[in-house]
């Protein structure tokens, strides 16, 4: 079977997954999957500590965002709670030249790209629709329609090949993020077809967090998602999505395969959405508390912390310092969100067309005149 997975880990789903750090914080040196690929990591103590720092930071920022939403400062928030390892591990596997195509939940990946965490908050506060330069940040705009960005990523990756930027260790690779629900979209399946046919230098990174809003995985698939890849002609690997080491190792290997001209890989990060789909959702209507509890025991941060403590790579002082720096960053984020000005209403007419439009220009002018007509009146 080309799509190998290990069967290690007592908590693994049937068929297994690649796991390098157990929920108890035990390191597994390496995992060799059925196709003969061996995955491992070779981190320094400093790198381990840095991974922990990122995991804690993105969780803390996420919590701040949830609080901001509850306080009415954000219109909506899509929490990444529980998916920190999948995002931080895969995000840190990207090299600077690589390009990421996120959904609307990849705040952790965004952070690992070195981007100011404030960047997507205009979208969630409702002051803009995103508004960043995909190429400048090597991070595409948040895409809300489910799965559409997988085609964008594939086209971009075709362009990488056409530019002659693959086939070497310095080549470029592309990663497309999506969820378990997205795998039912026609567009995602078309992206798989295209990527296979054109041998696109890319990684499909599916965070299977078990739910598409309320619908469980069983409503999307009869087989494990990673096995879909075989039908499209490229490898699929399932990882423990709550294990930041596995997420890093497998994504790094898949990206390097892509940049070296080996074509696409599908990674299924088996994880769990600990929070609601968004702040508008009530997960108690469709899932039971014991299920959530069982996933709490597989928490991505506590397992790394246990490992760091046991191996004496980090101690309480370090953990406290990370918490403190994350809190500081969260408070800075809060301030920036609160300072975010509402846009001028007339600015809604901006950027409809690169070359403008006489129709939009006329409507902008009428809008401005209409508002000006109230100046000095009681309106």
């Amino acid at each position: 079977m080309a799509n190998g997975v290990s069967d290690v880990g007592a908590d693994a789903p049937a068929g297994g997954f690649v796991q390098l750090l157990t929920p108890d914080g035990e390191r597994i040196d390496s995992v060799t999957t059925a196709d003969g690929t061996t995955y491992s990591v070779d981190f320094t103590d400093e790198e381990y500590r840095s991974l922990y720092h990122d995991l804690v930071t993105v969780r803390r920022l996420d919590a701040e965002a949830t609080a901001l939403q509850r306080q009415g400062e954000l219109g909506i928030w899509a929490s990444l709670l529980g998916q920190e390892a999948a995002q931080v591990g895969s995000g840190r596997a990207l090299r600077p030249q690589d390009m990421a195509f996120p959904t609307y939940r990849e705040h952790g990946v965004l952070y690992t790209r070195g981007i100011d965490p404030i960047m997507p908050f205009g979208l969630f506060r409702g002051v803009d629709q995103g508004g960043w330069d995909a190429n400048e940040h090597r991070f595409n705009g948040y895409t809300i329609v489910i799965g559409s960005q997988t085609l964008h990523a594939t086209g971009y990756a075709m362009g990488v090949t056409m530019d002659g930027k693959t086939g070497t260790p310095d080549g470029e690779a592309v990663i497309a993020y999506f969820g378990d629900g997205a795998t039912s979209q026609g567009e995602v399946n078309e992206a798989f077809v295209w990527a296979g046919v054109f041998h696109a230098p890319m990684v499909f990174f599916c965070q299977n967090n078990q739910y598409a809003i309320s619908e469980p995985l069983e409503r999307q698939t009869r087989i494990p998602l990673y096995r879909r890849a075989a039908g499209f002609g490229f490898p699929g690997v399932r990882i423990d999505g709550n294990d930041v080491l596995a997420s890093f190792a497998v994504t790094r290997a898949a990206l390097d395969n892509a940049r070296n001209g080996q074509g696409p890989t599908l990674i299924e990060a088996y994880t769990y959405r600990m929070g609601a789909h968004t702040s508008s959702d009530d997960p108690t209507r469709y899932r039971i508390a014991s299920e959530v509890e069982s996933w709490k025991a597989k928490d991505p941060i506590s397992r790394l912390r246990a490992f760091l403590a046991k191996q004496q790579i980090a101690g309480d002082d370090f953990f406290a310092a990370v918490d403190e720096s994350a809190k500081t960053l969260a408070l800075e984020l809060r301030e920036k969100v609160l300072e975010m000005p509402d846009p001028q209403p007339v600015s809604m007419f901006d950027h409809v067309y690169p070359h403008g439009s006489p129709e939009v220009d006329a409507q902008r002018a009428r809008f401005a005149d209409y508002h000006a007509s109230f100046e000095g009146s009681d309106h």
């Binding site: 195509f101 960043w132 067309y353």
Partner: protein
């Protein structure tokens, strides 16, 4: 160098010139490579520019447009062929939700210079889904520009202008006019060309203004010739650009003639004619001698080929509308 060629060949020449002029231009679609497209619009281009520039894609329209978005983000200028009008709907999501909105969403930081070529309209005796006129769906979508050519000369120029534009453009091609011939100035400098988003008065007249685009321009011109025999002098305007519409040129004409008749193949209900009628009555109210009339397809699915001639606006229906306008 003026040559007399078909509209289809003019498009082919225009595409070739765009491929020559900018190595970021790529053509993609179903059967556009070896076959040269089912209408041969891309004939010979893959042979001369290679499989990376003229890409035979998998058979999935959302995939064509979705990957074009990614290529555009990468810096390419994709020219996508949708094989027939009725096949565009699988790509509708990508066109309306992504192509149209990416520039706005990114506050102007991400441009998608994509051209989506769609052969449209009926009159070729085809089966279902091969004769539709879906332009209003796209003209209704902010962020897209929509144009259509009616003659070989415009086809040659407009396709190049559309490709050179950074706006996402849906480019409707009047498929039943692909084989009509006209004189084209091949190799002419684009900088002095008639602007892409401008309507053109294709026949000057004084008694009524007939507004048409794409395949109906020929019909309108034929009607104007027939009307002239009855002593009615019709002005015919080829809209060329459907979104945005070049309204000033229309208003100027209607204010002179006092009568307007809009002709299109698409169903009339909520069609382009409805918008034109609303605008004209708002801007030319005191000049109008009669209500703005529409000659359109009926509000039914496109019918079977054996009765399509009864569905499509033709010379007689245009003249009938002219009569009704004068009878007001």
């Amino acid at each position: 160098m003026a040559e007399t060629i078909t509209l289809g060949k003019a498009l082919n020449h225009g595409l070739r010139r765009s491929l020559e002029g900018d190595d970021k231009v790529v053509i993609m679609g179903e059967d556009v490579g070896k076959l040269g497209g089912v209408f041969r619009i891309t004939d010979g281009l893959q042979k001369d520019f290679g499989e990376d520039r003229v890409i035979d894609t998998p058979l999935a329209e959302a995939g064509i447009i979705g990957t074009a978005v990614g290529l555009a983000i990468r810096g390419y200028r994709p020219v996508c062929e949708i094989q027939f009008d009725g096949f565009v709907f699988p790509a509708y999501n990508q066109i309306v939700a992504q192509v149209a909105k990416m520039f706005y969403r990114s506050k102007g930081k991400v441009r998608l210079p994509i051209v989506i070529r769609i052969p449209f309209g009926g009159g070729i005796g085809a089966v279902e889904h091969h004769s539709e006129s879906p332009e209003a769906y796209f003209a209704h979508t902010p962020g897209l520009k929509v144009v259509t050519c009616s003659n070989p000369s415009d086809a040659y120029t407009m396709i190049q202008q559309a490709i050179a534009s950074d706006d996402p453009i849906v480019f409707f091609e009047p498929k039943r006019r692909y084989w009509e011939k006209g004189e084209v100035e091949l190799g002419a400098d684009l900088s002095g060309a008639f602007p892409l988003h401008s309507a053109r008065v294709v026949r000057e007249g004084t008694d009524a203004t007939v507004l048409a685009y794409g395949p109906m321009v020929r019909t309108a011109l034929d009607a104007a010739s027939a009307a002239a025999e009855d002593g009615r002098n019709l002005e015919v305007i080829d809209l060329r650009t459907i979104s945005p519409v070049d309204y000033e040129k229309i208003y100027a004409s209607v204010r002179r003639t006092g009568r307007a008749i809009v002709v299109h193949e698409a169903p009339g209900n909520i069609g382009l004619g409805a918008e034109l009628a609303a605008r004209i009555q708002e801007q030319c109210f005191y000049s109008l001698e009669a209500p703005v009339l529409r000659v359109t397809g009926y509000d039914i699915p496109y019918p079977a080929a054996r009765v399509e001639e009864e569905y499509l606006p033709d010379l007689d229906r245009v003249l009938d509308a002219v009569d009704r306008s004068f009878g007001w």
